[in-house]
């Protein structure tokens, strides 16, 4: 008898799960349900090439029409409202009930809403619609204030600068990037903004945003008031798990899963991507990861565990995320936040340094690495992290290519 896999969410995790199911030998029907009307699209370019106009929306498509894509059924513009685990059905907002044999929760995350309300002109950036609206406003020109100095904020600032806007970034932390990059690299990224003419007000919080699009005022906690035509608030994301509240699943900042990415207490419900929280074997606690590569790798693992239920594999990825800011390529593997110490390989100075920072943990292993403009070193680090290499061994291996080619050379 033919089985039906229902993937809830047209996110990259949802689409890649569906693709991996059809390509990986799942014989039955594969249906992807998406809340948005838009064909499934990819999100990283929204704060980069799409915002600058270098890429049109058509280039963001997650489906390429290959043989494994043709078998995927899409139901778009249909928000899931309830998951009935006992009866194995997904209920949509219009009341339709969709039965499943296996269900994958991949509803992703939403931008954390702005706590400051103005009539209009205050943007968040998460969806294609958000990106198009922000781009329209940026093209008018004028002052832009970006609230939040994380990845999205920094990339939006760089893109807005590229569109000739005057840009200020505000963040309550003195060194906002240090959270993800560690103390060795964080301050460099403050410098790169300033070098590109973007003003930073780090260590300063926002107390209110007033006015209307084209004529906004951002009030800071030091008493300053920044005029702005457009404001972008990039202060993180929240998992889209509210629709599961009635399901009986264990949901708390994401869907609690086992190490095989199965929702806790179920056999036929899985979760992948931003919405999944699972026990990472290497970290010894539950993690939820919002990175693109995690969504893709977790999707592949979930599909594999669905197709081969007799030999499930635990999900134990090496975290990987990148950020493109101005002409810098910043790549991070592992979690610098868990590190105890670090060593710099190469030279961090200069307008476009080519260097790596390797982080170690209490057990003396390589715990994480951040590379600047040096993708090859990052590949080495991802391999060493997966092998749980010792820190000394990792440094020796990283030092070889560093010596072979002097740091700081431009490509």
């Amino acid at each position: 008898m033919s089985r039906t896999a229902v993937v809830v969410g047209s996110s990259v995790a949802g689409v890649r799960t569906a693709q991996a199911l059809t390509a990986g030998g799942f014989e039955g029907r594969v249906l992807v349900i998406g809340a948005e009307d838009a064909e499934p699209y990819d999100k990283p370019p929204l704060s980069k090439h799409f915002l600058t106009g270098a890429w049109a929306a058509g280039r963001l498509s997650l489906l390429n029409g290959g043989p494994s894509d043709e078998r995927i059924e899409l139901r778009l513009g249909a928000a899931a409202e309830h998951l009935d685990v006992a009866d194995k059905q997904v209920r949509l907002a219009d009341g339709t009930r969709i039965p499943y044999d296996v269900c994958v929760i991949a509803t992703g995350a939403s931008a954390r809403p702005s706590p400051w309300a103005a009539r209009d002109g205050v943007h968040v950036l998460r969806t294609l619609g958000d990106g198009a609206a922000l781009r329209r406003d940026l093209l008018r020109g004028g002052e832009v204030v970006v609230v939040g100095g994380g990845f999205v904020g920094a990339e939006v600032a760089a893109a807005a600068r590229g569109l000739a806007c005057r840009v200020t970034i505000v963040d309550p932390l003195l060194d906002p990037m240090a959270r993800v990059l560690g103390p060795a690299v964080g301050p460099l990224l403050t410098g790169i903004h300033e070098r590109h003419g973007v003003r930073t007000r780090f260590g300063t919080g926002v107390v209110a945003i007033e006015g209307t699009s084209g004529d906004l005022r951002v009030c800071l906690d030091d008493g300053a008031v920044l005029p702005a035509a457009t404001v972008v608030v990039g202060i993180g994301a929240v998992p889209n798990d509210g629709w599961l509240r009635s399901s009986g699943l264990d949901v708390a900042n994401g869907v609690l899963c086992d190490e095989y990415c199965r929702a806790q207490g179920t056999q036929d419900v899985f979760a992948a991507g931003d919405v999944a929280r699972w026990p990472h074997p290497r970290h010894g606690d539950h993690v939820r990861v919002e990175h693109w590569t995690n969504a893709v790798e977790q999707a592949a693992c979930v599909a594999r565990n669905i197709v081969r239920p007799d030999e499930p594999v635990p999900y134990r990825p090496v975290e990987y995320v990148w950020s493109d800011q101005y002409d810098w390529k910043i790549q991070i593997a592992g979690s610098p936040a868990r590190a105890t110490d670090h060593t710099v390989i190469g030279d961090l100075t200069g307008d476009r340094p080519r260097a790596a920072v390797a982080y170690t943990d209490a057990a003396g292993r390589l715990a994480a690495a951040v590379t600047l403009n040096w993708p090859r070193a990052l590949v080495t680090c991802r391999r060493l992290l997966a092998a749980e290499a010792g820190f000394t061994e990792a440094l020796a291996e990283l030092d070889r290519p560093a010596r072979a080619r002097p740091a700081g050379r431009r490509p």
Binding site: R16, A20, A23, T293, A300, Y320, P375, R376, P411
Partner: protein, 65 residues
């Protein structure tokens, strides 16, 4: 045999392909993808397609002859 294609202009050096299929993909010192093979045997198709799908800028394709 499935034929491998890479768009070197689109490649951004994210290198997910190298991690997923190091016998097929590599990157050079400037962070641009290098194909180590022109084609792969049919039994490798699924694994290599998965590596191609892990490219954040869709620079890789696995095509039929």
């Amino acid at each position: 045999m499935p034929i491998l294609r890479a768009d070197k202009g689109a490649c951004q050096g994210y290198a997910n392909c190298v991690v997923a299929a190091p016998d097929v993909y590599d990157i050079d010192d400037d962070g641009v993808v290098v194909l180590l093979k022109e084609s792969v045997p049919e039994e490798d198709r699924q694994r290599v397609e998965e590596a191609a799908r892990s490219c954040p800028v869709s620079a890789l394709a696995v095509e039929d002859e």
